[in-house]
């Protein structure tokens, strides 16, 4: 409980100091590379988690029932494409905003 309190206090302090840093440097675009990298990292990481789960279930299903290969393959590829497109939306937004 005490630990959590410290963590939240530290986070609140960071939240307060962040605008102060921004004003001190005076540049309005200095956070853009950081934001782009962080958001791409978040998107890629979560996309990797999702794709890993999908692939794991697909291989498990394939190991249980090798006869169902074509159906599983189609759904695996479809699922991976849909999950991957979410990361690509992030990429497209970053590319559109960072110029």
């Amino acid at each position: 409980m005490r630990k959590l309190q410290y963590i939240f206090m530290a986070m609140a302090a960071m939240l307060i100091t962040a605008p102060a840093f921004g004003q001190a440097a005076g540049g309005e675009n200095q956070w853009v590379p950081l934001a782009a990298g962080l958001s791409m990292a978040l998107a890629a990481g979560l996309c990797g988690l999702g794709q890993g789960k999908a692939t794991a279930s697909a291989t498990e299903a394939l190991a249980r029932n090798p006869g169902a290969r074509p159906g599983i393959f189609i759904f695996l590829i479809l699922g991976l494409a849909f999950i991957e497109s979410l990361a690509l939306f992030t990429f497209a937004i970053i590319f559109a905003k960072v110029r």
Partner: protein, 243 residues
């Protein structure tokens, strides 16, 4: 002047005047009057010419007794598309194979042409995947209306009548979002692949980027397959009768 590939430069040298006149007739002013044909358009024309040549060769050399390599390739393509169509669309998939095969071959060749030095992928520019997605969108809507008639509207209205005004709007948005996701997926993959190779070339100029070119080859084939697969799924949803 924009950065032009060799093929684009040749095309612009030959056809800049007529193309400018054509664009002026539809009230479009190109950014550079000397070079109205951009790289993606030139690459699309190249792919178009290659595909037409391939189809002509296949048609000219068809034979029952002694099928040659080109014919085997065409038969393999047809069998692959038919197999996928049968497992996704089911009964009555035959009338869609022509469109889907042409679409798939075009996208595949567009993706792969970027791996040749001196050429670039037309699908790495947003307008080309958007055009392909729009063609797919109108094609499956047309097929849906053709298959179901006026009853096609029922697919947009949901199961219960008092929810239909809400569901109609949601369905319209989801259908339009298909165009967005189809185009952005293809564009994002091809563009990101090119960018990745470029970044690694700038880091380590020898050897290592080859791995990423190999990865790009895989992505190019997979994305063409995914586009074909999604087109078939949308077609199967549009022409299904059980709503």
């Amino acid at each position: 002047m924009p950065n032009q590939l060799l093929f684009t430069r040749v095309l612009n040298h030959a056809f800049a005047g007529p193309v400018d006149k054509l664009l002026a007739a539809v009230h479009v002013t190109p950014a550079y009057a000397q070079a109205p044909i951009t790289n993606p358009v030139a690459m699309e024309l190249l792919v178009f010419a290659l595909l037409i040549a391939y189809f002509l060769i296949v048609r000219a050399s068809l034979s029952v007794e002694t099928p040659n390599g080109v014919q085997h390739l065409a038969e393999m393509t047809h069998e692959f598309i038919s197999e996928q169509g049968e497992s996704i669309i089911g009964h009555g998939y035959e009338k869609f194979t022509g469109f889907v095969t042409a679409l798939g071959l075009f996208i595949l060749l567009c993706n792969l042409v970027g791996l040749v030095p001196g050429l670039e992928s037309p699908t790495a520019a947003i307008s080309v995947p958007l055009g392909l997605a729009l063609v797919t969108f109108f094609y499956y809507q047309y097929q849906g209306i053709k298959a179901n008639g006026a009853g096609y509207i029922k697919q947009f209205l949901g199961p219960v009548w008092w929810l239909s005004p809400l569901l109609f709007i949601i369905e319209i948005i989801s259908h339009v979002a298909r165009v967005l996701s189809l185009s952005v997926r293809l564009y994002g993959n091809m563009f990101a692949g090119d960018l990745l190779t470029l970044v690694f070339f700038s880091l380590i100029p020898v050897g290592i980027p080859l791995i990423f070119l190999g990865l790009h080859l895989g992505v190019a084939v997979i994305q063409a397959y995914v586009f074909v697969l999604l087109t078939m799924v949308y077609l199967s949803l549009a022409v299904s009768h059980d709503h």
